[in-house]
Amino acid sequence: MSDTPVVRVVNLVKIYQTGGLPVPAVRGVDLTVEAGEFVAVTGPSGSGKSTLIHMIGGLDTRTSGEIWLDGRRADTLSESGWAVLRREQIGFVFQFFNLVGNMTVADNVELPALLGGASPRHARERREYLLGELGLADRADAAPAQLSGGEQQRVALARALANQPRLLLADEPTGNLDSRNTRDVLRLLGRVHRQGQTIVLVTHDARVASMADRVVSLLDGQIVDDGAIPRVRRRPPGGAGDVVELRS
């Protein structure tokens, strides 16, 4: 694999113009994500996390700056150029799912793989695998509206991974999940990451963030911290934890 970064963003700026008053949402962000890296993006509400990840996925236009994906300049692409790039390279999990309402769960998940050129059989196998991993095997024939928010969110993750995309972008993918479902999502993310999946993920959930190789912290549209999560001392295998402290 080449050492071209999967994502390279240079001095990226987004200023929303709402009825006269400019709202600077992202103010000069530089970010590089190498192949196979898992980067978590955190920060307070309104700090620009969604805007940043939407721009990287071409779902929101930049005001200025550059976006390079896999060594190709992307911010200058047309709408349709972005659509092709997304179909071929990017899986996106939206904060609010965006499933296709008049298609079954199974079809929602298979569609991106089929659009990406996978055979129907391959698309079905991949869908069965992903829904199984997320505890949704028995919901394949349901319509999205019949699912709970947490179920829809997991379907959205399965759909984003259907195509084995070069880059997975996810915006609060566990925001609507209880702790059991979060665990299923974490397990799947961990598994695809170990298989080499590059991930950029916005999250408030420290369990999710702690799985990442690197954490990027946003504040007021700027990166205030970017670095690896250190390893704490490894506990001996089978050894004990230190959750309970019984003072003498």
Partner: protein
């Protein structure tokens, strides 16, 4: 440790090693193997305070063993402990002291302190997540241990949310 030993002895008399085993069974992986020396030191202090007594029990072919039992005063102390509200874990936060005081000394700026602390908490979270997985795999029947680990994770999440608030307010 004092109250834990009193509670165990309120259930039934026991010798030191049995108490160690009981702690291990109850807290499972969530508690580092209790140190037998520490248990005996604590029992000694409880005895001095009049909360427990020890009797020598003869054993065939072996040295006598000391069996501890709880006294009326010990039972009362245990009841008081159970009845009183438990202090929150974060009433005096050491990190907050650093955050407020360190900039006065010129030793560190707040942004750097918050960032370092965030990375540290996240590494603790990763460690707890691995511990939870280990507990699920090796001792799934011990719900107490799993709940303790989950509780620690929730506290850590709250700490991280609070760090974010500090960063917003103090920038």
């Amino acid at each position: 440790m004092r109250q834990a030993l009193l509670a165990l002895l309120a259930k039934e008399p026991a010798h030191g090693y049995e108490l160690k085993q009981a702690l291990e069974t109850i807290f499972g992986i969530a508690y580092p193997s209790p140190n037998i020396g520490q248990i005996y030191v604590t029992l000694g202090r409880l005895e001095k305070d009049g909360y427990v007594r020890a009797v020598d029990v003869e054993q065939a072919n072996r040295p006598n063993k000391k069996v501890y039992y709880i006294t009326a005063a010990g039972r009362e102390a245990l009841e008081t402990w159970v009845d009183e509200p438990t202090e929150g874990p974060r009433v005096r936060d050491e990190f907050f002291m650093k955050l407020v005081l360190a900039p006065l000394t010129g030793l560190a700026d707040r942004m750097a302190l918050v960032n370092r602390q965030r990375r540290h908490y996240l590494s603790l979270m990763r460690d707890l997540a691995e511990l939870a997985e280990l507990a699920e795999r090796t001792d799934p029947a011990n719900r107490a241990a799993l709940l303790l680990i989950e509780g620690a994770m929730l506290h850590l999440q709250a700490d991280l949310d609070w760090l974010e608030r500090c960063q917003e307010e103090l920038q």
